[in-house]
């Protein structure tokens, strides 16, 4: 079950990377690299921060091959990702849920504090997209007012952490947290829930080092 969700998460992230690359008129190298970055970026940061080796995409060696095939199909059959785009929000929300809980769980296993674990869960779920945006010269959409994404991941990570600390309900921690994140994300998209931007009544900074 988890394997299927994780696979869906990798596939849907890779398609987001492909779509992002296309918007910036990249060639196949760019499409493939962006698909890799969006699909594996968050998990790679988590593994590096926690010193977990081999990295998950080096260990699960079929994942990069899957991303390669997705990039190839998308470059040959150019309408495939456009057609799939409308169906991406559900696997994408599933991926957010699974990656967030997996990241939080890995961090707790390595003995970090709860707060750090919730941050690493959120990084795992969301930073692939942040890196893709930075490479494409976009201010990350994650950091701008838009339907809640990191917030779903962060709150869900805390649900997982708290439930996991209570022995009697520990076993339900992961499925409940994943279901919460998926539902919260889909509701945010449906009802346009977002955080307001933080004022711009700021003097010019001159130099920020």
């Amino acid at each position: 079950m988890y394997r299927v969700i994780e696979l869906l998460a990798v596939v849907s992230s890779a398609f987001y990377g492909v779509l992002l690359a296309r918007r910036h008129h990249m060639d196949f190298v760019g499409v493939f690299c962006l698909a890799l970055v969006v699909a594996f970026g968050g998990g790679t940061l988590r593994d590096l921060f926690l010193d977990r080796h081999p990295l998950f995409w080096i260990r699960e060696e079929h994942y990069p091959v899957i991303v390669f095939v997705i990039a190839l199909i998308s470059s040959v059959l150019k309408t495939v990702p456009v057609y799939l785009e409308r169906y991406l929000s559900i696997p994408d929300a599933l991926g957010l849920g699974l990656f967030s809980v997996a990241g939080t769980s890995a961090a707790i296993d390595e003995g970090t504090s709860w707060f750090v674990a919730s941050l690493l869960g959120t990084v795992t779920g969301t930073f692939g997209g942040v890196m893709g945006d930075v490479i494409c010269n976009r201010v990350p959409s994650l950091f701008r007012p838009a339907p809640l994404f990191a917030t779903c991941s962060f709150v869900g990570s805390w649900i997982y952490i708290l439930m996991r600390s209570v022995p009697s309900i520990e076993a339900f921690a992961a499925p409940v947290a994943i279901a919460f994140i998926v539902a919260f994300r889909l509701i945010s998209i449906r009802f346009h829930l977002y955080l307001p931007h933080v004022g711009d009544e700021v003097s010019d900074l001159g130099q920020i080092d």
Copy 2:
């Protein structure tokens, strides 16, 4: 004493991150993430390059909480960071001094060459801001003509390295180097000391891979 300076360094870096995020109209997620990146980015790079684990902000687990509180206060009381901005140059210079010397010291302890140690000291002191700028789509101000910042860190790192290698004055290496960096930085701001930019009499490069 050092704990207090380090805390001031984290706090002032976090406020820089908050101000940077605001200028780009980010929401709370962006404010918090940029505060984290600016406060912890340089030290994280150093720890990854030197394979030091757990990373300093995972070990000192109250630091991310402090940054979270700063981001929260800044988002609710929107004028706080603007008001504090004018007072940031002194803790910022203190942070540059402490982070630079701490980074250099860590590198030497890991057995790197002196030159590499001075580079890692400078990275620790300055690269949080570089990463913040890159995320916000700004060419890093560190790399442009502006009051000396990396230069103070680099020269101070060498003062620390050289003094540390002389047994009779070894004990004074850290305080002298930190004081030098702080003074050099404040003087650079006060008297507008900067490095000239390096000519633009360059033909168009075509492709740079």
Copy 3:
């Protein structure tokens, strides 16, 4: 022989970094940092991904010094890098060949799959330039239609992997793969070989997280 090629690779990458920094009107700090990033970025990523420590530029401690001297000379004698630019394509192609094969070889030694090894070879050969572009706010030229670069590296990495797996020709794997990459790269420049960009018949994505 390999030492000479590796040195040429570091030197030519550093000059690319210098030229890139100049186009963006950076000061000496920027010139030096970009030269470091372009020369060491790809290899650093590979070493971090594979958990190889000390990083190659920390172990080969004269490399950062060489980059420093190049940045210094380029800043004092401003016409040197412009003059050298026309001669850079050959050492640059040599560097691509050597870094790619060295990266692939290191990955296989660490026990990765062949596909991951070919990716890490390509990352080693090409991602210094990608990082330099991202820092300078350019969409990486590697990802755009331009004379083949990553493709040469990727194909050459596979030649190395396949030849290495056949005992009787194992000894020739590295020189043949390097020669192939160099020749393929120079031919791509000469005959303007490139991959087409992947269509932009894509609807606006709204938010990509």
